[in-house]
């Protein structure tokens, strides 16, 4: 598996093609290819863990002339997270779509989304990032439109046009970078970048484009409708992964490439926007009448947390403290990825059971679907940031970094955000525990409930108690970047 980094992209791509031709066996093809890709992604992570970051020069051309794929701690961890979520959602989807025609439409696009996610995470080239962003955007829109009702299509159209705008603004930044530095390779660029007007404008444009895609307040307006109206496995991928990889590119650019251009005040601005997103998104989630809409607003809030870390990372001295803040950011992102996907998958089960997802009418679901409500509670624990979830550690470091960086004003934001999150999560549970008739067994829809449970356990137990390796990896990454 020395070429796992290629397989992780090419296997789903081939799977997508075969599933078009051989649509009768598309579910099987998708499951197999995603499992193989999951194994390959683990191999990439293992290689990074054992021998550090590495490159794959596509076409054998050195980066600069050619394009290189690169795997380091950040990208390989997110890669494995993304493949885990995708694999679980794949199992789920094989039971979720009861209509054969819809299922046949779903798989090729789903696999294409997987390709786009993996290609994006591993890309080391600015223009290639643009192409993967477009592939990601288009496949995400197509999957949203799969619901095939008015709301979904309107959301999809908005999602598409906003996404295109974001990519074009990003591309404008890329054009300016190429004008000034004559390269598209991230690593080469990192060694060339100086703090000058061109860098600032180009960097600003790229950031703006990516902020649209990562739905940071006030550019989040397209997100709730799209995430709420897509089919459940798609919503899971959109909220857990698609938004997050945009944040990933931002981090990649900020930390690895344009760190000289970055000023404390600009990160502070993003931090403030993040803080507003936390409060506002949580508040909207609390007001939401529908389960999936609530989850979508919660995503807006959770993305906000990630941005609060930026001014902290910028203000902290290089070394252990900065690494800790960075790892905590990663941990928050990972936890949210697992938790939110588990949440959406469970919401899909509830929607299929009840025929709707109106929160006020969920009475009795705790009796009828105990495991699903359990999964919702687990992911709710992670969304609030209670132990033993990974986001508890994330918030711990968010608070401690705020003290260390002397930016105490983020702490009340965390406090209010947590309280609001508690309120919206337990509002659901309160209704779910309400009276209802039928009493189900523990496991009612195994193929849908078990993948969701696995994801929720990742968010809570595994990331909460077993993230020590993660810290090692990031420390290693920081060391490598420092050298």
């Amino acid at each position: 598996m020395s070429n796992a980094i290629i397989w992780v992209i090419m296997i789903p791509l081939l799977g997508s093609l075969i599933s078009i031709i051989w649509s009768r066996y598309a579910s099987l093809i998708a499951i197999i290819s995603n499992l193989v890709a999951l194994v390959a992604s683990t191999a990439v992570l293992m290689r990074v863990y054992q021998s550090g970051p590495f490159l794959h020069e596509l076409g054998g051309w050195h980066a600069g002339l050619g394009i290189s794929l690169r795997a380091d701690a950040l990208s390989s961890i997110l890669l494995v997270m993304s493949m885990t979520v995708i694999s679980a959602a794949t199992f789920y989807a094989s039971a979720y779509f009861t209509d054969a025609a819809k299922r046949a439409r779903f798989w090729p696009l789903w696999l294409m989304l997987t390709v786009a996610l993996n290609a994006l995470l591993l890309s080391g080239d600015l223009f290639n990032l643009y192409v993967t962003l477009e592939l990601l955007g288009l496949s995400a829109v197509a999957l949203t439109a799969l619901s095939d009702n008015r709301a979904a299509l309107q959301a999809a159209i908005r999602y598409l046009s906003i996404g295109l705008l974001g990519s074009l603004v990003f591309l404008a930044g890329v054009a300016l970078v190429y004008a000034g530095y004559g390269t598209l390779d991230l690593a080469t660029l990192a060694s060339l970048v100086q703090a000058n007007p061109l860098s600032q404008v180009a960097f600003g444009l790229m950031t703006a484009g990516l902020l649209i895609k990562s739905a940071l307040f006030p550019l989040h307006f397209w997100l709730p409708s799209a995430h709420a109206s897509a089919p459940a496995p798609v919503s899971a991928a959109l909220s857990a992964l698609v938004v997050k990889v945009a944040v990933y590119i931002l981090l990649r650019l900020w930390v690895d490439v344009f760190d000289l251009v970055l000023t404390l005040s600009s990160t502070m601005l993003l931090g403030i926007l993040g803080a507003i997103a936390v409060i506002w998104g949580s508040w909207q989630a609390l007001q939401a009448q529908r389960l999936k809409l609530m989850a979508a607003y919660s995503t807006v809030a959770q993305i906000g947390y990630l941005f609060i870390f930026l001014p902290l990372i910028a203000a902290l001295p290089e070394g252990a403290l900065q690494d800790a803040a960075f790892t905590a950011l990663l941990l928050m992102a990972l936890t949210h990825g697992f938790a939110k996907s588990a949440f959406f998958l469970s919401a899909g089960v509830i929607q299929q059971y009840c025929g709707h997802d109106r929160i006020a009418e969920l009475g009795g679901t705790a009796r009828a679907l105990p495991l699903t409500i359990f999964v919702i509670s687990l992911s709710g624990v992670a969304l609030i940031g209670l132990p033993p979830s990974g986001s508890f550690l994330g918030k711990w470091y968010l608070i401690s970094s705020s003290f260390q960086a002397g930016q105490w004003w983020w702490i009340p934001v965390v406090l209010v955000g947590s309280v609001l999150a508690t309120a919206y999560v337990f509002r659901i549970l309160g209704h779910a525990f309400g009276p209802g008739e039928s009493i189900g067994r523990v496991l009612n829809r195994g193929r849908e409930e078990i993948p969701a449970l696995i994801l929720a356990l990742f968010a809570t137990l595994i990331l909460g108690f077993g993230s020590a390796e993660l810290w090692d990896l990031v420390a290693q990454h920081a060391e490598a970047a420092g050298n």
């Binding site: 070429n3 394009i67 192409v131 004559g182």
Partner: protein, 323 residues
């Protein structure tokens, strides 16, 4: 002297371009806007030629203006209203105006800065030095299918995704009017010409302007024409084969890449000796897929019987359940 003349031409082209863009964007009628947009595409093709980008000029004329224009024109028919109204509040309107003006100034400044900053060489020297081992002599094709072939592969995936969406969402557009004999007569000699041109563009791409995208679009144009003239022509077409045509470009691309990886360690690392052939094979497959994709995109949805496979499947299982 000649430079001043060129510069004046440039200024005129630019002014015309900006004027066309502005009128496209501020037009109150969809039909008018689309027409102006197509005109702008053609002007862009001229500008690409002026800036010594003949590959692009071709592509813009065929794809940017041609196919996009055809898609937009046929789409207009689906819309109930053709009037464009701006319903932003005056405040919002002026905020947007101010914002874009500020952005224009800032970006212009940065562009000026960037052009002064660089030595102007960028990657062109590297391309030139490796061109000999790329398997082709047209540098743009070398970049597209060798140095940055991975981009092109993903781009084909983008095309496929878009076309899948088109197929998922809609049935084929109802055939509007019966084609006249004039169109049919014209088609009879135009289509073979287009097909031959397409083949030529594909072949010539190795050493002169042209290549898979231009050729594929040209082929698609031929198919669209055929479809317009003989609306029921596709009914005899094997749809299973059409699916294969749709994916064959990426399929061959990926398989070649993997094969080369097994030989030369890196994905898509062509051996210089065979690079030319391999690129031609990939391009041929890509041409077919692009043509199929653009044709399907134009007809606007699933041809009759597209999902028969699945429906058959469902019918069969239902039957099986009943037994």
């Amino acid at each position: 002297m000649i430079e001043i003349l060129w510069f004046m031409v440039d200024v005129m082209l630019v002014l015309l371009l900006l004027a066309l863009a502005w009128t496209t964007c501020s037009s109150r009628d969809v039909m008018r806007a689309v027409t102006l947009f197509i005109a702008m595409g053609l002007l862009l093709a001229i500008i690409w030629a002026r800036l010594k980008a003949p590959d692009l000029a071709l592509a813009e004329a065929i794809i940017g203006a041609g196919i996009s224009g055809a898609l937009l024109l046929s789409a207009i028919r689906d819309y109930p209203s053709t009037a464009i109204a701006v319903d932003r509040s005056p405040l919002m309107h002026s905020i947007i105006n101010t914002f874009t003006m500020a952005l224009t100034i800032v970006m212009s400044w940065a562009a000026w800065h960037g052009l002064n900053m660089s030595d102007g060489v960028r990657l062109s020297e590297q391309v030139a030095s490796q061109l000999a081992v790329s398997g082709v002599s047209n540098p743009v094709t070398a970049v597209l299918l060798n140095f940055r072939a991975y981009d092109t592969l993903l781009e084909l995936a983008v095309v496929l995704t878009a076309v899948l969406t088109v197929l998922i969402l809609n049935d084929k557009r109802a055939d509007s009017t019966a084609p006249g004999p004039l169109l049919q007569g014209m088609t009879r000699w135009l289509v073979p010409l287009l097909v031959v041109t397409s083949g030529y563009l594909l072949w010539v791409g190795a050493h002169a302007p042209g290549g898979a995208f231009q050729a594929g679009a040209m082929l698609a144009a031929a198919m669209i024409l055929l479809q317009l003239a003989y609306p029921s022509i596709h009914q005899g077409f094997n749809l299973y084969l059409l699916k294969i045509l749709l994916v064959i470009g990426i399929f061959i691309f990926v398989l070649t890449g993997l094969w080369m990886m097994s030989v030369n360690d890196d994905f898509l690392a062509f051996s210089p000796a065979h690079a030319g052939t391999l690129i031609l094979v990939i391009e041929t497959a890509a041409t077919i897929s692009i043509a199929a994709a653009l044709t399907l995109a134009y007809i606007g949805g699933r041809p009759t019987g597209w999902e028969a496979d699945n429906h058959g499947n469902r019918a069969m299982t239902e039957k099986g359940g009943a037994e």
